[in-house]
Symmetry: C2
Subunit: 436 residues, 2 copies
Amino acid sequence: MTVYPAKQHFAAVAAHLGASSGVILVNGGETLIHPDSDTEYIFHQDSNFYYLSGIAEPSFAAAYDISTRTAILFVPHVSADEAVWVGVPPSLEEYRVAHGFDAAHYTNEVDAVVSSLKANEVFKLPESDKLRKAVHEARVFKDDCEIAIMRRANQISSAAHTTLMKEAKLGMNEAELRGRFVGLVLAQGCSYEAYGSIVAGGRNAAVLHYTKNNMALGADDVVLVDAGGTYGNYASDITRTWPVGPRFSDKAREIYAIVLDMQKAVISACAPHKQWEDMHALAARVAAEGLLRLGMLTGDLESIVENFVVGYFMPHGIGHLIGIDTHDVGGYPAGTERIDKPGLRYLRARRELLPRMAFTVEPGLYFVDAILAEAKATPAVAQHINFDVVASYRSVGGVRIEDNIVITESGNENLTSECPKEIADIEALRASAYNQ
Amino acid sequence: MTVYPAKQHFAAVAAHLGASSGVILVNGGETLIHPDSDTEYIFHQDSNFYYLSGIAEPSFAAAYDISTRTAILFVPHVSADEAVWVGVPPSLEEYRVAHGFDAAHYTNEVDAVVSSLKANEVFKLPESDKLRKAVHEARVFKDDCEIAIMRRANQISSAAHTTLMKEAKLGMNEAELRGRFVGLVLAQGCSYEAYGSIVAGGRNAAVLHYTKNNMALGADDVVLVDAGGTYGNYASDITRTWPVGPRFSDKAREIYAIVLDMQKAVISACAPHKQWEDMHALAARVAAEGLLRLGMLTGDLESIVENFVVGYFMPHGIGHLIGIDTHDVGGYPAGTERIDKPGLRYLRARRELLPRMAFTVEPGLYFVDAILAEAKATPAVAQHINFDVVASYRSVGGVRIEDNIVITESGNENLTSECPKEIADIEALRASAYNQ
């Protein structure tokens, strides 16, 4: 088994810190307990700590002596009494080797060990903002080990999405799909859902942060499934939208085809030195062209673009950095501001694409009554929208297609390549669900 | 749909408080975010607040004017901007009716509304220890609505356990069983696992708080599955132990039969006015008789009982109160101390059984090396143990059988009655897994 490159991550952080000496000290997360109860929350490791340790268990710490390049792991001591209940833990040496550290001590020795390093400066999380920024910047660039883990997270989650398309039938409700998804990714070694899954049938897909996941699926609906498992502490974040019946309705198919065009255009364009907000703009332009063809938008394409009309149909950003966190750190480097325009104001990253950055590409088109009312009340926008045509697509609710990519030297690698998204492939899977 | 009896729960708490006037004020839980991240923990409502509101969403509050018996719900306001993302929420009136309150306001009115009640005293959680004790004591006694919810939680979880027995095959690992279980209970409307599931094959069952759930299952092993879903905010907590192959090994069957005897004896005995520690003692006595028959224990039964020898094979208590929390509140009324003896020191309740109390009944027998070493080093205990016989059962790991019961006027109702535990029924299910 590959050792998670925690020590290399410390070195990368030291480089971003620009320090040639000093000690970096980070504490891992502690188990959280529900108030007035002894029930534990399912443990999620602190993301920065995981990056610097590869340790998924609570109550550890880690340090790195920058000048001597020495990585030190601190392990919580398990007493003989506790071991009766939790099992005999690995030894310090076993932990040290398994995680690629140079030394290992118990956590009650943190102060003594750090003192003995006689550092001119100790950088500590969460106290040091400078260290936090350096860790965030290091986390933006994924090494081969991290990419391999993310590839696996995507494979597992892609297989689960595919199983849903193959199994879901009319009569099921959203909770059954969500349960099936979670069960499948846990069974394949994921620790938990990377985020609260969205399983939204029909008009529920027009609720962008839909969390109820408990409604019956309608025969003419498409269902939007935004769900991903966390594997080896790395998130996957995948959305597929597909018909509850064996085939897309004509209206749903037309919207789906535009969203697929948007996504393919962006994925084709993602390459080093592009700007992420330009990827958003590209998606909006492809959407505008498609919606013009449907007659939902009218008038001049450039005016539609300039007035951010598509932002009323895709109110969210084109995607975000992804890694240990689903919405990973580093999207807005210091000094970069949000763009206060429809759609763009929720863009979760603004920076130059560089190799080893991982992004979601998740265009969507939605028919949200409240947003359409706002569009209607905004003359510069309303002039470009045929609201009768919009009304005829309202029942589609919303469509989103989301893959995870990693920028390479020449373009990008799609980590979600095993999850079907072509209309013909989806309809073949949906037909098979009804032919069993 | 039945309205959750939140207002009646306030009245019960007021009665336990012994106050004829004053206001009870409780805040619901808030969404928790992972540190240095925007990922939310899956929301779990504060248990005391759920009991007094029936509200499973974050950021609510509730008050009760004791003298006028007025229950007031406080609802967080959702702005039009937020509603675009989360959907249009129910109105105040819709919330009021759905939850059986007398009045509803937004949460920014808590202070004004409470002031307007001109109460001589405001009892607030978590500040008031007196209120906390009254809420805990009220929660000990489940009303018909709560029992119906717990019955459903048990049905769903029982069905999931049964599916595992029907589907699990050699070659699977523990994670697959856990994933399947979680998927099944979520699909049937549970919100989450009630606690961290334990799926422990073979010797892993001797790790009492086993959490890894990631090992392959062995052909000759039994697997211990301790898992339950939370439905309608009420926990279920069920354990079944069954062979990975189609039949129990002789050794496993012998241990299983004793544990089943222990459980049946306790469930038969559970009735009003019994003491919970006597239920533990009964289980220990039945175990001693069974282990004497196997030749694992030797000597005089009364001496075995007096020396708590069974506590080295069942180091945990016979069970605990269950309700909104898996380990529910109220097990040790003020002034009641733990009994510092093997097995008993971890008993989670010591009180008189009364109608409407809900308990788990979860006897087990385990072969934990560290505990057996302690037994060997304790002459009064060691004299009663044939360690050669113990060694011949070591590979069984551990067996536990756990049901949830509610004390009735005449005895008890077993909420877990739909989950097979007879050897013949289990072996029929296991055989069917291999005959597909």
